[in-house]
């Protein structure tokens, strides 16, 4: 039943990586064609060494720039993540067929 794998679901997480259940719930439901955007306190996951192990390699990972800068972690963000601004956040929501917020 897997139809065209286009831009399917944008998963938005806003809780810090200590909220392991939220990350587990999100990660278990990721499929090829999905992407993950970390906003607010979730941007800390981008510099948490254990996190990269859990997100599947084929999932594009984004962080929201304002939250990265506010927390001063842009230098420590892992390479797997691209930092995007608010306009690109809106663009991602247009590109992906739907979004799910995990909080």
């Amino acid at each position: 039943m897997m139809e065209l794998l286009e831009y399917e679901t944008l998963h938005i997480i806003n809780k810090n990586p200590g909220n392991t259940q939220i990350y587990a719930d999100c990660i278990q439901n990721l499929l090829e064609g999905d992407a993950v955007l970390l906003i607010e306190a979730a941007v800390y996951a981008s510099c948490d060494k254990t996190m990269a192990l859990y997100f599947p390699k084929y999932i594009p990972l984004y962080t929201l720039k304002a939250d990265v800068d506010a927390r001063g972690i842009s230098q420590r963000m892992s390479d797997e993540y691209s930092s995007i601004d608010d306009d690109e956040f809106v663009k991602l929501c247009c590109l992906y067929r739907k979004s799910i917020s995990w909080f």
Binding site: T9, N29, K98
Partner: protein, 119 residues
């Protein structure tokens, strides 16, 4: 417009108002003929058990609303098999008839939707 809508329940009973808020959205959507599905994962599977006695702690029980879902033509109710077994529950423990899904099928259920509300 496409609006197959999934409501995801993730919270345990009496933990907060999220399950009730989510259920109220379901009823409103149903009044607008929006095709909806309900998914219970994690601690939220406990919300479906027969054994809740909310009056003991003076809390509201949403069991009656859950039982009434059928009358609103809300019959697509899905429950995580893994989370049921985690709490030693099975279909016979539940107050509504549900489709019990393995994790891979939960991901596919989510994929099929046009809108998802996940409180």
């Amino acid at each position: 417009m496409h609006y197959n809508t999934l409501l995801i329940f993730r919270n345990g009973p009496f933990e907060n108002n999220k399950n009730r808020d989510c259920l109220d959205i379901a009823l409103a959507c149903s009044a607008f003929d929006i095709p909806i599905s309900l998914l219970f994962i994690g601690d939220a599977v406990l919300q479906l058990t027969r054994d809740l006695e909310s009056q003991i702690i003076a809390q509201k029980n949403i069991a009656n609303t859950l039982r009434a879902l059928e009358m609103y033509d809300i019959d697509k109710i899905y429950v995580s098999a893994a989370d049921l077994s985690r709490f030693n529950l099975d279909e016979s423990s539940l107050i509504v008839s549900c489709n019990i899904l393995e994790q891979a099928d939960i991901a596919l259920l989510i994929r099929r939707q046009d809108k998802v509300i996940n409180l």
